[in-house]
Structures are given as structure tokens and as C-alpha cells.
């Protein structure tokens, strides 16, 4: 079904927002692109790693961060997951003026209530409206039982984990997770990455037997654990269909997950970045099952055929051929990997030839493909940090805290512009979670980064203004926020295709709205939306620099 809707009917054009992108003058080339505004924004959260001399692996894991508009006021709020058992997560309400207010207590999302939650080491966060009530819900993963918070729509949340049946095992170590509608029934299902089979009582001593030299063990010492897929029953409960769906590979050590339709068959596929074992690409068969096609597609290993230590992951079209490519951050001495989608179910690792060489030394975690400079293509942000806090004892050239990387996309190749992008890129952090959103609704995408045992960094995008569009989808037959919709934008003789998803990076969740940079184009001549329901909707002559609310016809 194709719908053509008048902008007058479907677009809530926010005048102040439309102007915001033009508020700043053209910045000189040397101006900082990202400015750390954490303190000014009133963010006081500090991650607690719970580190002990016993070097339990989860202590170095870090935690995720999520952007989501929990109160539907049009502004992205911010949720930080905290690590150590008993350390509270934090929800910050966006005050619309560049500042935030901690509303954790009122919202009831600290994640430490109840005996199971109080003992869990919290890791990741996923956001989705699982009950299609128009309010985004929260799923918090952990080494321990996971939590599902239902958004009550009044600024509070209710722990519905038990009712929903999505806690997972209390001994499981869950990591990244995400909501998506894999079976096309209009409600959101839940995929949960699981890491390794770890027990506090089985914590081998690794490193030298010398004071100060004990180190976190390699994941190779431990077995993997199968991921979980929870099918939404449509009544507030879920069914674990992992095994039947074919995604329960026990050898996986999942850290990152992303959903995208790699073969344009209209169904979301799943890509899982695993740590030190090959990655999985689960092709959606359309009948409730998946088939791991990583071997055939060439996305399980690097170009040399080696498995890598995959951490963060994202999916997006980096070269303008309208096919989604895959990006993975990896361990030190491994390039971050860009798998170019060649069509026909085949990918090629182009990492070594496309300008990513500076990613070889850092240890990458959270990442996002996004158009930071609104020039109409996807750039790359990666935050880095080692997993071994005393790595310098063994390798003096390495360090626990490391600098972030920013790559600008120039015609499908990348240039490391970190050094030219402001003081934020001179700061070393133990980067883990990373999420992207336009939190000030000024038409460019901002970044938040979590750091192990430290405060996070909120980096406001101050790039010179260009034109842009943000689409906020409102599904009717499809899931309420249009996750999985494929949007094609034609502007200035240029076409871009992107899927609506907030799932990417490491342990984190991004702005659920779709942001498109338009460069010099002042309007989009055509926007085509293929909704998850199968409906297709076309908008024409859409003015740039607005947040466009689009309802599924």
C-alpha cells in the first residue's frame, strides 16, 4: 500500500527547531566540532566499576547509555546504566535548555530494587515501546537478572520483568540488547546478546604472580553462551524462542548487536559482534527462523580470515549505494572492521583500504555511523579504552584510557579528523558505551560516552551548520515508533537510504528518530518510507531543517 500524505497533515514542523540549525554562524575550520558540556548540562552521574583486586572480568566491562524521550516532550532524555552491584542507574530529564535534571528516584529506574537486581552487575540498555502504548520502555541487561521497565506514561516506570518473562537466567551475562519486530506482527520483540559463561567462583588468576600484576583474563578462558530472542506475545509477555529461531549458538560471546535488512528482502536480519570468536549474521528466513550466513557472506572474520574481538557494531550505508554496510570496533592491534555490502549476500572487509588505519592501536568499544557534519553521508565515531587496567605494566606503549576517534566520510573513504575536532578528542577515557542523539534539537547529532569508573562525557555537536531532516515515525499497523522502517531520501540529486533503528554501538541505545544530513539541499524532493507492515509512503518536497513527525497511513 502506498500513501501520499500532505506535509500539512503529517508534519509537525517545529519553527524554533527549524531555525536552530541556522542559529550558529559558519565556524572556522579549526573550531571544535564537539564540545564537552557534561558539567554545564548538570550531568553528575559517575559510573562505578566495582573493581576489586580479584579482577572479576565484569569489572572492566563498563556500562551503556541510552537516549530516549521517555515523556514524549520532543526532547531526548538520558539514561545511564551503572555497573557495580547496588550502584544506581540514572535517568536525566532534558530541560530543553541544554541542561538535565536527575529524575531517577521519581521514575523508579535505579535498577537496584529487589534482591536479584541489587546483586546484578548492570551492563546494557535497550529502548523500545514493547506494548505499543506510545511510550518508550526500558530494558536493562546485567551479569545477573535483566530488567524490563514499563513506561507508565506519567514519568514513572514499573518493573514488569517477571510478568514479561524476559529476565533471562540469573547466572547469565547479558550485554547489548535491542527491540525489533522480526516477525512483522507489529509488536517489538527483544534480542539479547549474551557474553561468556562466567562464575565468581571460577575466576582464574591471570597475569604474573606478582603484586599489582594480576590482570583480567582473556575471554578465551571461558565458554560462550547463547544469545536470547524473546518473541512478543502481544499481551505484555514474551516467549523465549531462541532455540527454535536458530539463534542459540552457545559458542557466541556477544558484545554488540545491530538489526538491519542486509539483503533488502523487507525483513530485519541480525548481526552480532562476538569477542574473540567469529561474528554471526543471522538472516531472517521470514518464517520465524534465522540462518547464520556469516561464512557465506564474509562477515565472520577479518580480511585475513581471523576472528576478531568485536565490541561495538553498527549498520549503515557508507558509500551511497543504498545497501547497508557493517562496522565493528575491535581489540587493539586489530583494525576496526568495515564490511562493505557488495550485494548478492556478499560483503568485503575493506578496512585496510578505506582509511581506518588509525583504529589499529586503540581498543574500540562504543561506536556509531552518523552524519555528524550533515553533509549527506555517514561518518564514524568510536570511543576507545583498554580492558586491562594495568596493561601498561605489560605493554608500556598501551594504556587503559585512550582517545576517541572521529572519521569523516569523504566520498566513501574515511579520514581521521579526531585531531581537528576539538579538545574532546584529546581527552583519554576508558570508553565503553556510546549513544547519539540530537539532544538540543538543533539539527545535528550529539554524542554521549560512558567511561569505566568515571563520569560520562556529553559532547555537543558544534559543527558548522548544514541542512538536515529528522524523521520521527509513528506506526499504526507497524510498531509504534516505526523501528525497522526503511527510509529513502532524495535531495539535491542525491539519494540516501537508512533504516529506523536505535540499536547500535556497545551496550547502548540511540535517538529513535532518524536523522538525515542534506548538505546544501534546502529540501528533500522525495522521501519514501517502507514501513515494517509493508506499506509504502511517499512524501514530496519536504523542507529541510525540521523534525518531521510522520504517521503511518
Amino acid at each position: 500500500m502506498t500513501g501520499r500524505l500532505s506535509l500539512v497533515l503529517v508534519a509537525a514542523v517545529l519553527a524554533p527547531v527549524a531555525l536552530a540549525g541556522q542559529r550558529r554562524g559558519a565556524a572556522p575550520a579549526s573550531a571544535p566540532v564537539f564540545t564537552d558540556v557534561t558539567k554545564a548540562a548538570g550531568i553528575t552521574f559517575v559510573h562505578q566499576s566495582g573493581a576489586t583486586p580479584d579482577k572479576y572480568m565484569y569489572e572492566t566491562f563498563g556500562s551503556g547509555v541510552a537516549w530516549f524521550d521517555y515523556d514524549n516532550d520532543g526532547y531526548q532524555d538520558l539514561y545511564f546504566v551503572n555497573g557495580a552491584a547496588g550502584a544506581p542507574n540514572a535517568l536525566y530529564h532534558n530541560n530543553h535548555d541544554g541542561t538535565f535534571t536527575d529524575v531517577t528516584a521519581k521514575a523508579g529506574v535505579a535498577g537496584i530494587a529487589g534482591s536479584a537486581a541489587s546483586k546484578a552487575y548492570k551492563t546494557g540498555v535497550a529502548v523500545g515501546d514493547y506494548d505499543n502504548d506510545g511510550f518508550l520502555d526500558l530494558y536493562v541487561t546485567a551479569f545477573g537478572a535483566n530488567l524490563l521497565y514499563h513506561n507508565n506514561g506519567n514519568g514513572t516506570f514499573t518493573d514488569v520483568t517477571a510478568k514479561a518473562g524476559v529476565a533471562g537466567s540469573a547466572t547469565e551475562w547479558s550485554t547489548s540488547a535491542g527491540f525489533f519486530d522480526y516477525d512483522g506482527d507489529g509488536d517489538l520483540d527483544l534480542y539479547v546478546d549474551n557474553y561468556i559463561n562466567f562464575r565468581r567462583t571460577d575466576n582464574p588468576y591471570c597475569g604474573f604472580q606478582k603484586p599489582g600484576y594480576r590482570m583480567y583474563c582473556s575471554p578465551t578462558m571461558f565458554d560462550g553462551t547463547a544469545d536470547r530472542l524473546f518473541r512478543n506475545n502481544g499481551n505484555g509477555t514474551f516467549t523465549d524462542v531462541s532455540r527454535a529461531a536458530g539463534i542459540a549458538n552457545p559458542s557466541g560471546k556477544g558484545l554488540g548487536v545491530v538489526f538491519c535488512d542486509v539483503d533488502a528482502d523487507g525483513r530485519p536480519d541480525i548481526y552480532v559482534a562476538n569477542d574473540q570468536v567469529r561474528n554471526f549474521l543471522y538472516h531472517n528466513n521470514g518464517n520465524g527462523t534465522f540462518r547464520d550466513i556469516a561464512y557465506g557472506a564474509g562477515v565472520g572474520f577479518d580480511a585475513d580470515g581471523k576472528p576478531q574481538a568485536g565490541m561495538g557494531v553498527d549498520c549503515g550505508d557508507i558509500d551511497g549505494d543504498l545497501k547497508p554496510d557493517l562496522f565493528v570496533t575491535n581489540f587493539e592491534d586489530e583494525l576496526d572492521t568495515l564490511y562493505k555490502n557488495q550485494g548478492g549476500g556478499l560483503f568485503a572487509d575493506v578496512s585496510s583500504t578505506i582509511g581506518l588505519r588509525s583504529s589499529y592501536l586503540p581498543l574500540g568499544f562504543g561506536t556509531k555511523l552518523f552524519d555528524y557534519d550533515n553533509d549527506g553521508d555517514l561518518d564514524i565515531y568510536a570511543t576507545n579504552g583498554h580492558v586491562v587496567d594495568n596493561v601498561a605494566l605489560y605493554r608500556p606503549s598501551s594504556s587503559y584510557d585512550q582517545k576517541d576517534l572521529l572519521y569523516e566520510n569523504i566520498g566513501g573513504r574515511f579520514r581521521d579528523v579526531s585531531a581537528q575536532s576539538g579538545p574532546a578528542f584529546q581527552v583519554k577515557r576508558v570508553g565503553r558505551g556510546l549513544a547519539v542523539a540530537d539532544f538540543d534539537n538543533d539539527g545535528d547529532l550529539d554524542v554521549v560516552i560512558s567511561s569505566v569508573g568515571r563520569p560520562p562525557a556529553l559532547l555537543r555537536n558544534d559543527a558548522p551548520p548544514r541542512h538536515w531532516l529528522t524523521l520521527a515515525l509513528h506506526g499504526t499497523t507497524s510498531n509504534r515508533f516505526g523501528l525497522g522502517a526503511l527510509v529513502t531520501v532524495e535531495a539535491g540529486g542525491h539519494r540516501q537510504a537508512a533504516e529506523v533503528t536505535n540499536v547500535a554501538s556497545y551496550l547502548s541505545s540511540n535517538d529513535i528518530r532518524l536523522h538525515i544530513g542534506l548538505g546544501a539541499a534546502t529540501s528533500a524532493s522525495r522521501i519514501t518510507i517502507r514501513w515494517p507492515s509493508g506499506k509504502t509512503q511517499t512524501l514530496t518536497n519536504v523542507a529541510a531543517n525540521q523534525i518531521l513527525n510522520v504517521k503511518e497511513p
Binding site: 571460577d202 582464574p204 588468576y205 591471570c206 597475569g207 604474573f208 604472580q209 606478582k210 603484586p211 600484576y213 590482570m215 582473556s218 575471554p219 578465551t220 578462558m221 565458554d223 560462550g224 542459540a248 549458538n249 552457545p250 559458542s251 557466541g252 574473540q276 570468536v277 567469529r278 540462518r291 547464520d292 550466513i293 556469516a294 561464512y295 557465506g296 557472506a297 580470515g305 581471523k306 576472528p307 586491562v388 605489560y394 605493554r395
Partner: protein
């Protein structure tokens, strides 16, 4: 001490014959002549035939491991749920002997078992990976499961026995390996593991006898010769030790532990120039410090042996430096503390010698009776102005 991860069935000690012929694997096609590069095989060929060729290589001489990996990946690209292909890929990775592939080897074997739980060889190969990782309880779990599926299987008994030894049960280890040998008296691996258990039990002469029996079978396994050489040294049979350890070094010229052991043998026999040569060869390549227990052990052993050699040469300053390096790497290295005690003893610094000797004894490396007697005598007659 443990056997390293072996490249394949073929180079494991007599593993291949039984495991590789288990009924679970009988369904795979028999091997025909293989091309020089298996990956170049025609992709239109039936998967079963391609798999059979790879299997023949891996269970044979394992001469085409890289090509086998490529071919298995190609096969899994066609059928990702082929358990046998996952198992062979895990085996091929292990054969490549690269540390960065150990995890992937394990993962492939686990995936094979997830797809086909009765694929017994995969369980055995997985247990071997666990053995290499020092995950002995996992070895025990896998082999106990395997023995339920194939009761009395000698290889499973042997590997289970070796795990039990590492878990501190040498008596049980010896018992299991004796069971394996009762079923197959020619099974060298079980005899080797039995010898290791006997060494743990203090039955050195029996252990040496078993190790000699294994070497008489010309098993191409440097660890056997290394174990035998070390046992000879402990039995004060330095000449025999030299012969065994020279074998080990010839078989594994890059093994630092073999060079160190041979240096010890040479030093014991007064062949100090040869000892120096061996220690020079034992220096790990590169300057990068590897954060592994094995690396730490080798580095500590190397420095201890340098210290002993320098002590023997009367170079006390160099000896002390070497022992201190060993202690810096591994503070609880008893041999290094013993070496320092010896230096102090030579210098008639009895108080320090006593402190180091006490520490060494607590760490299981006491002074010899004669040296202890000298020290005790010195403590009652402290030397004035002892040099440090």
C-alpha cells in the same frame, strides 16, 4: 607440565586411530586423492566429497591446514549447520597452533556439539583445547560425557586421567591411565600421562621406566623427552638427561623450556660453555612481555638458570642480578630465593643467607643438607664485616 595442543589427530600420540574412526564419523565419505590445494577444489563438487578430502588431510598428515580452513569455511558458507564441518574447522584451527585461534577452535567444536551432541570426536578435541587452556574441570566434564557414550575408550580415559592429575588427583590419574593401558598396552599417550602421575606421586623410578618405554616407541613428542630429561636430572643422571634433552631441543628448537632444561644438564656436568649457549638460545624472541603464566614461568626459569650458571662460574654479582630478575617476575620463586641464599652463603653473610634459605624452604626449595649445615655453622660463628 602438559602436552601442548597438537596440530591434528595425526600428530597426537596415537589419538587418531580410534577417535577418528568412531561410528559418528562413519557417515562422512571416505577420502580420495586430494588436490595440492584443497580450496581450489571445484565448488560444484558435492559437499560430502569436499568434506571427506579435508577430513583425510586432517586425520592424515595435516599438510594443508590453511587450505583446509578455507575449504571448510566455504563448505560452511553452503551449509552452516554441518556439524562435521564445524568440528573439522575447530581441529584445523588447533592444528595451526596460533594462540589467537584457540578461542575460535573451541567455538567451532562447541558449535559442532550443539548441532550434533553425539559427535564424540568433537568432544574429545574440545577436551584437548580445554587441556591446553588449563580448564581441567571442563576436560573432566567432556571426557566423562564421552565415556558414557563410548565406555572404556582409552584416549578418553587418558585425557580424563591427565585432567585429574592437574586437578590434584594423581592417584586417580594413574588409575585411569592404567585402565587405558590395559585396553591398549601400546597407547603411548596413556603411558606418558601415567608417568607424569607417577612423578607427582614421587614414584620417580617407575615414571622414568614408563617414559623410557614411550621414547623407545619413537614418539615424536618433545614433551616426553623433556619430562624424561628432567626426571633424569632429578635422579642425578645428568648424562642420560643430556641425551634426552638434546632430543627434545632437536624436536622443538624454539621451545625455551627445552633449552633451559638442557642448559641445566650441561651445567650439572660442568659443560658451562654449552650451558651458556643453550640459555642464549632460550631467550624469548622480541621484547614484548606476554601476560601469561607460561611466559612468566619460562622467564623465571631462564633467570634462575642464568643465576645458577653464573654462581657456578663464580660471578656472584651477575648471579644475584639474575636471581633478582626471577624474583621480580615471580616473587614466590623458591629456586631464585635458594640461589640468593647460596650467594650470601658464599659471601659468608649468614643472616641474609638464612633469611633467603628460610623463604626458599617455605616455597619448597630448601638448601641441600650440606649447604644447610654450612649455613647453620656460620650462623653460630658469624663472620665479621661480611660483604654484601
Amino acid at each position: 607440565m602438559r602436552l601442548p595442543v597438537h596440530p591434528s589427530c595425526a600428530v597426537s600420540i596415537a589419538v587418531a586411530a580410534i577417535v577418528c574412526a568412531t561410528p559418528a564419523f562413519a557417515q562422512t565419505p571416505s577420502a580420495g586423492p586430494r588436490p595440492a590445494t584443497p580450496a581450489a577444489a571445484t565448488s560444484t563438487e558435492p559437499v560430502a566429497a569436499r568434506l571427506g578430502r579435508v577430513q583425510a588431510d586432517l586425520y592424515g598428515r595435516a599438510e594443508h591446514l590453511e587450505a583446509d580452513v578455507q575449504e571448510l569455511k566455504a563448505i560452511l558458507g553452503i551449509d552452516p549447520n554441518l556439524a562435521e564441518a564445524h568440528m573439522l574447522l575447530g581441529l584445523a584451527y588447533r592444528g595451526l597452533g596460533k594462540p589467537e585461534l584457540v578461542g575460535e577452535s573451541k567455538a567451532e567444536l562447541q558449535e559442532a556439539l550443539d548441532l550434533k551432541p553425539d559427535l564424540i570426536p568433537a568432544r574429545f578435541f574440545l577436551a584437548e583445547v580445554y587441556l591446553g587452556l588449563g580448564r581441567y574441570e571442563n576436560v573432566r566434564d567432556e571426557m566423562q560425557t564421552a565415556l558414557q557414550q563410548a565406555p572404556g575408550q582409552p584416549q578418553f580415559l587418558a585425557v580424563l586421567g591427565e585432567a585429574e592429575r592437574h586437578l590434584g588427583n594423581p592417584t586417580r590419574s594413574a588409575e585411569l591411565n592404567r585402565q587405558a593401558l590395559a585396553r591398549d598396552p601400546t597407547f603411548s599417550r596413556a603411558r606418558y600421562y601415567l608417568a607424569l602421575a607417577q612423578l607427582d606421586l614421587g614414584e620417580r623410578d617407575q615414571a622414568i621406566a614408563n617414559l623410557e618405554q614411550v621414547t623407545a616407541a619413537h614418539v615424536p613428542e618433545p614433551d616426553v623427552y623433556l619430562s624424561l630429561g628432567n626426571a633424569y636430572l632429578d635422579a642425578s643422571r645428568a648424562a642420560d638427561a643430556t641425551t634426552a634433552l638434546e632430543h627434545a631441543v632437536t624436536m622443538a628448537p624454539t621451545r625455551a623450556d627445552a633449552h633451559i632444561a638442557l642448559a641445566r644438564a650441561y651445567r650439572t656436568r660442568g659443560l658451562l660453555t654449552k650451558a651458556t649457549e643453550q640459555l642464549t638460545l632460550a631467550k624469548p624472541a622480541g621484547d614484548a612481555v606476554q601476560p601469561t603464566e607460561g611466559y612468566q614461568q619460562v622467564e623465571a626459569d631462564l633467570n634462575v638458570e642464568w643465576g645458577r650458571l653464573r654462581l657456578r662460574q663464580g660471578q656472584l654479582v651477575a648471579a644475584r642480578t639474575a636471581f633478582q630478575k626471577a624474583i621480580d617476575i615471580a616473587p614466590d620463586n623458591g629456586a631464585a630465593h635458594q640461589g640468593l641464599a647460596m650467594i650470601y652463603l658464599r659471601q659468608r653473610d649468614y643472616a641474609h643467607a638464612d633469611a633467603e634459605a628460610t623463604r626458599a624452604a617455605a616455597l619448597g626449595a630448601p638448601l641441600s643438607a650440606a649447604d644447610r649445615q654450612t649455613l647453620d655453622a656460620g650462623l653460630h660463628r658469624p663472620a665479621a664485616g661480611s660483604a654484601k
